[in-house]
């Protein structure tokens, strides 16, 4: 059975988000004066073949640890699609 897993990766608190900062300043200049902060991360959709949902989640977490996430500067959350409509 194919499970659709969503991974959201974002920079840890305190790590400089160079990209978010640049986007914020352009948004402000372009007249979006009410935006206060922008942070930019990654949105990864995985399709995982697995008998159970738990197993799929476990595998997704393992992939994050192995490769998808740079734990020195990033944090992540993993969610099954459909579940909470991520």
């Amino acid at each position: 059975m194919i499970h659709h897993v969503t991974v959201l990766v974002f920079l840890k608190e305190g790590v400089l988000d160079t990209q978010g900062k640049a986007v914020l300043s352009v948004l402000l200049h372009a007249g979006h004066s009410d935006v206060r902060d922008v942070r930019i991360g990654k949105y990864i959709q995985l399709q995982i073949e697995s008998p159970t949902r738990e197993e799929a989640l476990k595998q997704a977490n393992a992939m994050c640890e192995d490769l998808l996430v740079n734990s020195i500067i990033e944090e992540y959350t993993v969610k099954l699609r459909g579940e909470e409509d991520a």
Partner: protein, 240 residues
């Protein structure tokens, strides 16, 4: 010909284009800061140079395309003036919809900097009049996002309208997968708008070998010819 080079925060080939124009034509270009809202009066050619405008954050060229000066650049284009976007400048042109399509990450997912050869597909544009049909030019490439993309049917239409001006090709003129450095659809290296006065290209004419060493060294004079051709067109020396 009066050229204006737009400088965005993070542009890094602006001075190179200035040197190129000086060494090929002996003329000084105007450097125009992105917060300006008007081009210097008398501008014939606008150059959007390569580099990493706004750090290439979000999407390459996206933030530069929203700069104040781009309104003036659009008006210049609309009135028939020449606009040339090189590398990051090409990305700015697509992001500002002055040219169709988008530039995606190279298929190698790596930055590529190396010598490169492209084939001239059209000689009836203001930018290519001095070249021969199918002539091979040596213009180096240096980019991470150079894969030209346009959805299938639109790509067909683009080709039909003959908007493709340069294609990556081998030195013997073959444009196939092995001569395609970045995976660009149809080996596209440069395109013009329908009217033909706005050109975007990924390779860098200002880095052509003769721009470095001077024609006298026997290096290919492709770079010099490129700038001279545009000057002659702008000055009305070539049939328009």
């Amino acid at each position: 010909m009066q050229a204006s080079i737009i400088v965005f925060p993070g542009s890094n080939c602006d001075r190179d284009v200035g040197h190129g124009l000086r060494s090929a034509l002996g003329t000084e270009a105007d450097f125009v800061w992105h917060t300006q809202t008007e081009l210097p009066p008398g501008t014939d050619l606008v150059v959007l140079p390569g580099g990493f405008s706004y750090g290439d954050y979000l999407r390459c060229g996206a933030m530069a395309a929203r700069s104040p000066i781009m309104g003036a650049v659009s008006r210049h284009a609309a009135s028939g003036g020449l606009v040339l976007g090189i590398c990051n400048g090409f990305q700015v042109l697509t992001e500002s919809r002055l040219l169709p399509g988008a530039l995606l990450a190279n298929r190698t997912l790596r930055f590529i900097c190396r010598p490169c050869t492209i084939r001239v597909e059209r000689t009836d544009t203001p930018f290519t009049r001095t070249f021969r049909e199918k002539q091979i030019l040596h213009f180096p490439i240096a980019h991470y996002e150079g894969l030209y993309f346009l959805p299938g049917n639109e790509l067909l239409a683009l080709e039909k309208r003959r908007q493709v001006v340069f294609r990556y090709a081998s030195t013997d003129g073959v444009a196939d997968d092995s001569s395609n450095p970045n995976g660009a659809l149809n080996n596209i290296a440069g395109i013009v708008n329908e009217r033909g006065n706005v050109l975007g290209l990924m390779p860098h004419p200002e880095r052509a070998r003769d721009m470095l060493l001077g024609d006298a060294s026997g290096a290919h004079a492709d770079g010099t010819d490129f700038w001279k051709g545009i000057r002659d067109w702008a000055d009305g020396r070539l049939g328009q």
